[in-house]
């Protein structure tokens, strides 16, 4: 049995794609995942579980994940959360500092080496429950779309989703409520991709806990009252797919921005949405549901 220090000095097997990397490497040569994840998980001597936040470009994955991590680290909802390594704090810091200055965080680039990754130890504070190690990458929506459209384009996504113990699928409720079909189609493609990559038998439904999160629900507050009904009515393709192929799925509504202003630019500058204040609703619940279903 190798000691922790011996393990750290040996070649590093990537947590995500299992490629072997030299000891001094910081990023995986194959998928660009930070190898600090591996070193940290070795130090914990506990197998980390991956929870993936997925969704279309501009749906709000970065904002959602940033606020979620910040809430967890502030012990919201009776959770206790410890970030493993400074890199785990970068995302929430970026999101909080931008929102404090009334700006949305920058767009996540497609290049996986530019993504934020968070490694947290999480448990319920009062119930004395066991620690769970969670790895949560902030993937670019375009990368997800590219992988879904042509599998093996962005291999890290394939590996991440294969290994995910839980998923949060973010869908733009505001667009869906306005009659746009794009959110429904993207979510359907995403679920179909996940369905096809799992080696489950045709008749067997996928058991990975999957929370469908209706984002920007402040635009359509009826989501909060009955998210299931909203999905059934406005995202019917997704609803049918979930019903048919996913055994462990729940629907939630969520909103991060309380009110939005728009700054008109000069000349060719675009109209910039300004988050005037944050008003978090339903951020923690989907995560809590996934966490509760991880160990089952």
């Amino acid at each position: 049995m190798l000691s922790t220090s011996e393990k750290a000095s040996a070649k590093t097997e990537c947590l995500i794609c299992e490629a072997i990397n030299p000891p001094k490497a910081l990023l995986c040569s194959t998928c660009s995942a930070p190898l600090a994840l591996v070193h940290d998980s070795l130090a914990q001597e506990r197998e980390p579980q991956i929870v993936s936040v997925i969704g279309e470009s501009n749906v709000g994955k970065t904002v959602y994940l940033g606020f979620l991590l910040d809430m967890l680290s502030q012990r919201a909802g009776d959770f206790e959360a410890i970030p493993k390594g400074a890199y785990s704090v970068d995302l929430q810091q970026t999101v909080i500092s931008h929102m404090m200055h009334r700006a949305f965080p920058p767009k996540t680039p497609m290049e996986p080496d530019e993504w934020y990754w968070a490694y947290y130890q999480i448990r319920r504070h009062s119930r004395g429950s066991c620690w769970v190690d969670l790895v949560m990458p902030d993937m670019a929506g375009e990368s997800l779309a590219a992988e879904v459209a042509t599998p093996k384009t962005i291999t890290v996504i394939h590996n991440l989703l294969t290994k995910s113990a839980g998923m949060l699928l973010l869908v733009d409720a505001a667009l869906a409520a306005n009659g746009y079909s794009q959110p429904d189609f993207f979510a359907l493609k995403m679920m179909s991709y996940i369905d096809s990559m799992r080696p489950a038998k045709k008749a067997k439904r996928i058991r990975t806990p999957t929370a469908v999160v209706l984002c920007k629900a402040d635009y359509c507050p009826e989501c909060f009252d009955n998210p299931r009904q909203f999905v059934k009515a406005n995202l019917n393709r997704l609803w049918n797919m979930c019903e048919r192929r996913f055994e462990n799925v729940e629907f939630f509504a969520c909103s991060a921005v309380g009110s939005l202003g728009y700054a008109a630019g000069q000349g060719e500058e675009p109209v910039v949405p300004i988050p005037l204040h944050t008003s978090l609703q339903g951020v923690l619940e989907p995560f809590e549901w996934v966490l509760n279903h991880l160990s089952r």
């Binding site: 490497a25 990023l27 660009s32 501009n58 920058p106 290049e111 530019e114 670019a140 962005i154």
Partner: protein, 359 residues
């Protein structure tokens, strides 16, 4: 050797134009999608080629520098056997208005035969590509594009579109070539966003090696792009972090050392000497002739003939006779050697006439 060597390829009678498949990779909002993706392409582009272009194209914030007029070039062979040359630039503000500028990449895909019409010089292809596409990037092109018609522009006397870079000396170029010939992946800093340094590095490689080099200039380094040669201008801390431990060479032009001893030393010696003597055209001309075998042995033999051609220019009678004897029964291996030996004999004849004419 003459000041400007003729190239082996059919430079004299190139077709005026070639057709290549094209693709535009950028971020737009449409009814079917959002964000960076191939938003338009010609019908001949294969699924696997689209995948590779998606993998290697720059997304948000990937150009070196934020200036609106910043340009980048990326060139890479595709698994299909074709070759892609891409022109990236900023195209106004990104539609989500989350900061930064939209990166717009226009790629053209050529067959090997068409690439040869440009002497396998991807910067020449890029020059034609830049001339063929609109000055202002088209942000919302039609989904289906026609193949792109590229004009095979006449090359400069050196076979390049740029003049030799003033900021790279012989030692630096040889050190860089040495790494590339050894198959290393290199990130180059300190040469500015120098298209000239990029082009001349590629053009100093034997033609058959040029086709295998995936490279970029003006793009930030990203391991996912799988480039062998990346000119990133200024030092970027993220790039150092990304290459750490992976054996990718960090090549700072300013502090480049003499190349480590390698099997390509005799070849590099000739290149280095010619570079110092500003015989840049001869470098690209000779390298363009090597279309099949760039093994250390083949390059060593070619380098030896080049040395003798240079030597014969100043040879005395005894040395001239010895050199002529050497090449009297010289068994040439391949077209580049045959051409060089022919040129040796011409140079020897000229030298003999000169010696006999002098008192």
């Amino acid at each position: 050797m003459g000041a400007q060597s003729p190239v082996a390829l059919t430079e004299a009678s190139p077709p005026a134009t070639v057709l290549g498949d094209q693709a535009i990779f950028t971020s737009v909002f449409s009814h079917t999608g959002e964000g960076y993706r191939i938003v338009a392409a010609s019908a001949g582009l294969q699924v696997d080629e689209r995948r590779e272009i998606t993998q290697r194209s720059p997304s948000h914030g990937s150009l070196c520098g934020e200036a609106p007029d910043r340009l980048a070039v990326s060139v890479y062979p595709l698994a299909s056997g074709r070759f892609c040359v891409a022109h990236s630039r900023h195209a106004g503000f990104e539609h989500t208005a989350r900061g930064g500028q939209r990166v717009h990449t226009h790629a053209v895909v050529l067959t090997d035969a068409d690439l040869r019409r440009f002497q396998c010089n991807p910067l020449r292809v890029h020059a034609s590509l830049a001339a063929a596409i609109p000055d202002q990037p088209v942000v919302k092109p039609p989904l289906r594009l026609d193949p792109l018609c590229l004009t095979v522009s006449p090359a400069s006397p050196w076979g390049t579109v740029t003049a030799p870079p003033a900021d790279m000396n012989a030692e630096q170029i040889c050190a860089l070539l040495s790494l590339l010939l050894a198959g290393e992946r290199v990130v180059v800093v300190g040469a500015g966003y120098s298209h000239a340094a990029f082009e001349w590095t590629i053009m100093a490689l034997p033609l058959c090696a040029r086709r295998t080099v995936a490279g970029s200039v003006g793009l930030k380094f990203s391991p996912g792009r799988q480039m062998r040669l990346t000119f990133i201008g200024r030092n970027q801390r993220e790039a150092q972090r990304a290459i750490s431990g992976h054996g990718i060479r960090w090549f700072d032009v300013a502090s480049a050392q003499r190349p480590e001893p390698s099997a390509f030393d005799s070849w590099l010696e000739v290149i280095g000497r010619w570079w110092s003597q500003r015989r840049h055209g001869e470098i690209s001309g000779l390298a363009s002739q090597i279309i099949q075998d760039a093994s250390p042995r083949a390059l060593r033999r070619i380098a030896a003939v080049c040395e003798d051609i240079d030597r014969v220019q100043t040879a005395g009678e005894a040395m001239l006779a010895a050199l002529v004897r050497k090449y009297a029964a010289f068994a040439v291996a391949g077209e580049p050697e045959a051409d060089l030996v022919r040129r040796f004999r011409e140079a020897a004849d000229r030298r003999a006439q000169l010696l006999s004419a002098s008192p």
